[in-house]
Symmetry: C2
Subunit: 193 residues, 2 copies
DNA sequence: ACAAATTTAGAACAATTGTTCTAAATTTGT
DNA sequence: ACAAATTTAGAACAATTGTTCTAAATTTGT
């Protein structure tokens, strides 16, 4: 692992632990035992570090949504795969989810990528639900418009569960994965057969 | 309106417009035409300004949830009242909703108040749903546990719609109130009769 | 009307922060 | 083995920021 990769992994660790408000490049450099000058030799601007991390998340997410080629899986199985996969990302890159709005206004490239991702994902999910509705595992009589809105709602719940948990769940010691799983299941609950 | 109130209203305006990352007390003072020294005479610390604004939101929210004493209203009517009331607050104090996680870790008092509010509100909503289930306007066979989880989901959707809209909807020119309304309706849709 | 209290402006302070610069150390390619 | 390229540390810079301090201006109470 070269210095550049070390900076990324250390920055990720520190941002996840302390948030983005108080963390400085000096702190990152100090905690990993290199000079601030050296850090800025590898990443000229702080945004470059964060954007790099975001791109790792983006790549991992796009890899994940390619996996289940709706062959043979039941809807429940597919849901479980999605929950596990997305939770792993939320957990690994938690600071991005918890500071998403701020990051989007600070680094416009992040907002653009996210919008692109959402748009792409929206169509996929709707057609997936229709497929499983035909297969008798998803409520059938839902109008297309409502299905689209359900997908939008799903994005809010799934992308901001992390923010809600940070404020409500974390100090109550609730198991995060279990809580996330329940939250997603709750969103699907009235739509499943 | 005395200086203290002016500071609050100007700070709210500026935070809503620019977010909390880039705004400084100097900027607030300058935009309202007073000196920075004067501003800090009224609010010793920046947090004091933000916490004061949060308490205004809190007070307005608590006032709102007292209003509909479930007498005579249909569930649909009550929902409409809730949507209008909560949207007005989300709109007026948008920077708080959009930067909620960061504010909670910066100013612990905000997190505490929010947790208290959620806890109090959770029980109210569950009993409201049961009441309307008995009145035949809400799905009846939902287990209590699922009802509680639905309420949790509702908080995520309602409190973080604003964050999602800031990233996805705002630049697409979607009407915010309409979008919020649709989002909340979508959450209720499968539960209504 | 005038002494006391409050408010205000502006300078000043102290700390921080991202970033750049320079020279030394290290690595790489041949 | 050695010249060239890369990496590194640490000092230095420039700008910012929250906050305090001081003295003047204004308001308040009697």
């Amino acid at each position: 692992m070269n210095t550049k990769e070390k900076i990324i992994s250390e920055a990720l660790k520190i941002y996840n632990r302390d948030g983005i408000r108080t963390v400085t490049t000096r702190q990152i450099a100090q905690e990993m035992g290199i000079s601030a000058g050296n850090l800025h030799y590898h990443f000229k601007h702080t945004e470059d570090i964060i954007f790099h991390i975001f791109q790792l998340l983006e790549a991992a997410y796009e890899k994940m949504i390619l996996l289940p080629e709706k062959g043979g899986y039941s809807f429940q199985q597919l849901l479980e795969v999605f929950i596990e996969g997305s939770y792993a990302l939320i957990n690994k890159y938690s600071f991005i989810f918890e500071n998403f709005v701020e990051l989007c206004s600070w680094i416009p490239g992040i907002a653009e990528s996210y919008r692109h991702l959402v748009e792409q994902r929206e169509g996929q999910l709707v057609s997936l639900f229709i497929y499983y509705a035909d297969a008798g595992m998803f409520r059938r009589e839902i109008p297309l418009l409502n299905l689209k809105r359900f997908v939008r709602q799903l994005f809010i719940v799934s992308d901001f569960w992390s923010s809600s948990y940070a404020v409500l769940g974390r100090q109550q010691g609730i198991d995060p994965f279990d809580d996330y799983r329940q939250t997603i299941h709750t969103a699907f609950y009235p739509y499943l057969l």
